[in-house]
């Protein structure tokens, strides 16, 4: 550890800020207040005495368990499909590539309700694939599977974006060296590309998980709201708000805490090299 005198703020050299007009502090402060106040307002409404009972009620526990289960499943699906998609987008060259990239990012800007409708017309009983699935005895819409599909649909772009960017930053030089050392493309992916991407993979996964956990619009449209089957925590909060505002606030706090943990984890995952 360096001498403590060196660490005192008095002696530390500081970068003089350039390109930061003084007036920027005002709107920046407003922004912080705008983002922070609602959280405070909600916290002020939490009835702490009832909190344990509210978040452990049967419907709350069912919703929380369902949310965690479906979000994990959706995150796994995002990884299985999104990692190869990011690889292809970053490294392959093919006609129509920019269209594929735009398609992969579409769920970021698409209203989730619209995503739900689109999924319904794909996997619903009368949907594009739904009819075939129906014949095979598989019904997707309004099932837990539908929740996972809705969450995967809206969460995948978060993973793909962060991975594709990282792939471009890392470049292909390490992969080329690995290939000249005799590693097959799959070995290169497993032993070089993915380990080098670990930080981006971790933060992309966390972001995708958070997005899946918070999914509402596509879920209620495509999967409905059946307790224990499709009623995830956000849906439960929305419904409770009508009947039991205290329960809604308590459950909201649970989601805030989960989100805060997610952000903390993703901030921690910095490149070790």
């Amino acid at each position: 550890m360096p001498d403590s005198a060196l660490r005192s703020p008095r002696l530390r050299t500081r970068q003089a800020p350039v390109g930061l007009p003084h007036w920027a502090a005002l709107p920046a402060g407003l922004a912080v207040a705008f983002l922070g106040l609602p959280l405070l307002a909600m916290l002020s409404r939490v009835s702490w005495g009832q909190f344990p009972a509210l978040v452990t009620s049967e419907s709350s526990r069912a919703a929380l368990a369902l949310s965690l289960r479906t979000s994990v499943a959706a995150t796994v699906l995002c990884l299985l499909l999104g990692v190869p998609l990011a690889l292809v987008l970053a490294r392959a060259r093919f006609p129509g590539q920019h269209l594929v990239r735009a398609l992969a990012l579409l769920p970021l800007v698409l209203p989730p309700v619209v995503a739900g409708i689109a999924l319904l017309y794909t996997f619903g009983r009368r949907g594009l694939l739904g009819e075939t699935l129906q014949v095979a005895g598989i019904q997707v819409a309004f099932s837990t599977t539908a929740v996972v599909l809705a969450q995967t649909f809206v969460a995948m772009p978060f993973l793909v974006i962060s991975l594709e960017g990282a792939l471009r930053t890392v470049g292909q030089r390490y992969d080329e060296v690995a290939a000249t050392l005799g590693a097959s493309p799959t070995t290169v992916l497993r032993r070089v590309t993915l380990p080098l991407l670990a930080p981006a993979l971790a933060s992309g996964t966390v972001l995708a998980f958070a997005r899946a956990l918070g999914e509402f619009g596509a879920t209620i449209t495509f999967a409905g709201s059946l307790q224990g089957v499709t009623r995830t925590l956000p849906l439960e909060i929305y419904l409770q708000r009508e009947t039991d505002a205290d329960a809604a606030v308590a459950l909201s706090l649970v989601l805030v805490v989960v989100s805060a943990v997610v952000i903390a984890v993703s901030r921690r995952t910095r490149s070790p090299w």
Partner: protein, 360 residues
Amino acid sequence: MSLHLAASVPDRQLDVALERPGGTSLAVLGPNGSGKSSLLGVLAGLLAPARGRVELDGRTLLDVDATGVRAWVPAHRRRVALLAQDPLLFPHLDVLDNVAFGPRSAGLPRREARALARRWLGEVDAGDLADRPAHALSGGQAQRVALARALAAEPELLLLDEPLASLDVDVAGAVRATLGRVLAGRTTILVTHDVLDVALLADDVVVLEAGRIVEAGPARDVMRMPRSAFAASLFGLNLVTGVAIGPEALRTPDGWIVAGLADQPLSQGEPALAVFQPAAVSVHLHAPSGSPRNTVAGLVTALEPLGHLVRVRVGDLKADITPAAVADLGLVVGNRVHLAVKAAEVTLDPAPTREGSPRR
């Protein structure tokens, strides 16, 4: 383990053919952008030529002609390892596992691969680094480890792309000595800008200019008697080209007549070149009279310190004279001077044809 290469990469203006006997090392010289790295890329399987054919030890690594790709062995099955200026050690592995990477990829169990890696680390004098993380090495250490990693993959052809260029002079010297030891008897292609690499590591030399081979020959001959402007400048020699006007004289396009000594008499009217040391050139303010010398007049374009001498540049010509002589002559840039060189100091030779006649 002979190597045959013919490749044309129009995007990079590369069009070369070369033939290497196994177990020898070839230095590839040339200005930046002349296609040296593209050449290595074609051999390593990282760059697909528009047309070309590469054979290594009887195996066809690639065969592409106008009708399409007839053969393409991907990089990982070529047994061609590449060591670049940047060691590119895998940052998530320690030194030992970096070196064990090739053997592991070849299917060796972890224990055996690591044992092999230790042996190669010892071979390049880096045995004590085995347990370090890859990012905790100095430049020279990292390059030794990268060399061990390349060798541990047991390549049949080793490609080196300016492997010492980013190292300090004394570190480069030590790593060069190691390279000299481990490259002996290996088929190697070495891209370099360093005369020491040529002198100590290369059996033969090719010079690339704008993607074409303009000179090829044994390293010793090229250093003594370069035939391309690039090689002459790299090895610090004066090179003058022109047309033979007698068995031991040529005339440059500017009309300067250079007399010298030729191993074989020049044929009159044929292209010829003359090579001489800058130290053999004397500088005068007035045209020297008396003994028969080759003289040419010109303006001083630069004065550069060069060890204990001063290099006087007059156009493309160089004369190395003492600082005292510079002071006596009162030389400054822009002076008009006469350069003189004794015929006995000038070596004359027929000029190669443009397509680079390998003289071997």
